[in-house]
């Protein structure tokens, strides 16, 4: 479904990704794990068009994403929940959802999608008229995911959904991701919370210093010495 080949990208004047190749099949949940500064967020930003790549190719459902601006990539069916959630703090929860459904194809089905999203996250319906900036961290993450789902994406990119949340809330967020996965979405998730994310995904890639160091099924990564030593502390 998503095919990334030989992708290099710069973060300012600094090369952040070196010839990264990875793939996500329809229906899969795939994680990219790795330490801080490995280039995980840069990878997500290149896929969703926020950052133009230096070289390499990106294809989604067989179609090249080269040169497409971010708003075209959403239209192609990829929604990106950015790092730190990035809600519009002075818009209400419902207005944030409205922004997620900005594209004309999603607008036409706004009421239906909103009903579906509220059924998935009843807490958001309770808080629909509250300003997003006043939500708790976990609720903000819910709202950010809900906003991305409003565009009816076929691929959902989640960038560190558990970052900055209390341990109990982290658990809730992972439960949430599990539910989204059960709804049949294809998910590419970036996480530092390696132990928990490996329980959740089908496959994972280990990104280190801008290069794919390892790739395989979640079980293979859990058994690998590198991951056990450096990321699981075993």
């Amino acid at each position: 479904m998503l095919e990334v080949t030989g992708l290099s990208a710069d973060y300012g004047s600094f090369r952040a990704l070196f010839e990264v190749s990875l793939g996500v099949e329809a229906g899969e949940t795939v994680a990219v794990i790795g330490p801080n500064g490995a280039g995980k967020t840069t990878l997500m930003r290149v896929i969703s068009g926020l950052l133009p790549p230096h070289s390499g190719t990106l294809a989604f459902e067989g179609r090249s994403l080269a040169g497409l601006e971010a708003h075209r990539i959403v239209e192609a069916g990829i929604a990106h929940v950015p790092e730190n959630r990035r809600l519009f703090p002075r818009l209400t929860v419902e207005e944030n959802l409205r922004m997620g459904a900005y594209m004309s194809s999603a607008r036409a089905r706004f009421v239906e999608r909103r009903g579906w999203v509220y059924a998935l996250f009843p807490r958001l319906e309770e808080r629909r008229n509250q300003l997003a900036g006043t939500l708790s961290g976990g609720e903000q993450q819910m709202c950010a995911i809900a906003r991305a789902l409003m565009s009816e994406p076929r691929l959902l990119l989640l960038d560190e959904p558990s970052a900055g949340l209390a341990p109990l809330v982290v658990q809730q967020v992972f439960d949430l991701v599990r539910r989204i996965r059960e709804e049949g979405f294809t998910v590419l998730i970036v996480e530092q919370n390696v132990r928990q994310v490996l329980e959740l995904v089908d496959r994972a890639y280990l990104l280190e210093a801008g290069r794919i160091a390892l790739g395989g099924t979640a079980d293979e990564l859990k058994r690998s010495d590198t991951v056990r030593r450096s990321y699981l502390g075993l």
């Binding site: 969703s48 068009g49 926020l50 601006e69 971010a70 708003h71 959403v74 239209e75 929604a79 990106h80 950015p82 990035r86 519009f88 703090p89 002075r90 818009l91 207005e95 409205r98 922004m99 997620g100 459904a101 900005y102 594209m103 999603a106 607008r107 906003r147 991305a148 565009s151």
Partner: protein, 284 residues
């Protein structure tokens, strides 16, 4: 209460509506695009000339001339963004200020060249409403009513539509607008058209009260900026509140002192208020 003071206050309210309309357009542009159109009042001047020529010279009915002026100034707003602002969007604010300031002088000089410095009147004299001893010009009442309707329409647009929501959202997080499927460039062009259209609407109302000449912008441009800054640049509600405060100072000051001193007083109050609250009434 002194009946003439009451008249001054009422006139101040009317004038406040008009100033609020001017401030709304400028605040909208600043809030969304993060650029100050220093030449805003000169766009209004272009609108006033349009109406003058269409109506007074070519005999086009006023409502038609008014619509034409609004559309033309909206187009000017788009061109201003496309030609002058877009290439310098990322540069320092001072450069953007100088560029739109340059356009201000260009428009003033161009108008002088085309139309000379003559004061021209559109030739419509609306009567006054007499309430006992109080005289209220219909031109002012109309200006107030239309400004109010314009502000309400803008509010509904911003509150209720997808485009309006995007316009409110964009200043909260520019970068991720693309992730929402929003084309930022298109939002900027539409906002510029609306800002221009509001300047055009203000022109329709001002031309009924004032003569048009190449430097007419100077008589309400500076005060509009003052109001925007006082309300908190980019804050629409703050701008409306500041507009009514300033209009009252000018109206009451004009009655108690003189028209000339009233503006001095307004600027004095501005300086004091901005020293007390540099971020503006509702600024952050």
């Amino acid at each position: 209460m002194d009946i003439f003071l009451l008249e001054a206050v009422l006139n101040g309210v009317m004038f406040g509506g008009l100033l609020a309309l001017l401030a709304l357009g400028l605040n909208l542009i600043f809030g969304v695009i993060d650029v100050v159109w220093i030449c805003y009042a000169e766009l209004v001047m272009c609108g006033m000339y349009t109406i003058y020529w269409l109506h007074a010279v070519y005999g086009v009915p006023f409502p038609l001339a008014a619509v034409a002026a609004i559309l033309l100034v909206a187009l000017l707003g788009v061109l201003l963004h496309r030609i002058i602002i877009e290439p310098i969007l990322g540069s320092a604010p001072i450069n953007q200020l100088l560029a739109t300031g340059g356009l201000l002088f260009f428009l003033q000089s161009f108008a002088t060249l085309l139309f000379t410095t003559d004061f021209r009147n559109v030739g419509i004299h609306l009567p006054s409403l007499e309430l006992g001893d109080i005289n209220l010009g219909y031109a002012r009442i109309l200006a107030f009513a239309v400004a109010l309707v314009g502000a309400a329409a803008l509010y509904l647009f911003l509150a209720r539509t997808y485009l309006g929501t995007a316009i409110r959202a964009i200043s909260q997080d520019r970068e991720i607008m693309g992730l929402m499927g929003v084309d930022q460039r298109r939002i900027y062009l539409i906002t510029s058209a609306i800002g221009g259209g509001l300047a055009g609407l203000a022109a329709c109302l001002l031309v009924l009260q004032y003569d048009v000449h190449p430097f007419v912008g100077l008589s309400f441009g500076p005060i509009t900026f003052m109001i925007c800054v006082l309300g908190g640049l980019g804050n629409m509600i703050g701008g409306v509140i500041a507009a009514f405060i300033m209009a009252q100072i000018i109206a009451i000051g004009g009655y108690e002192l003189s028209v000339e001193y009233s503006e001095v007083l307004a600027f004095l109050v501005f300086i004091v208020l901005i020293m007390v609250r540099p971020q503006g009434i509702l600024g952050k």
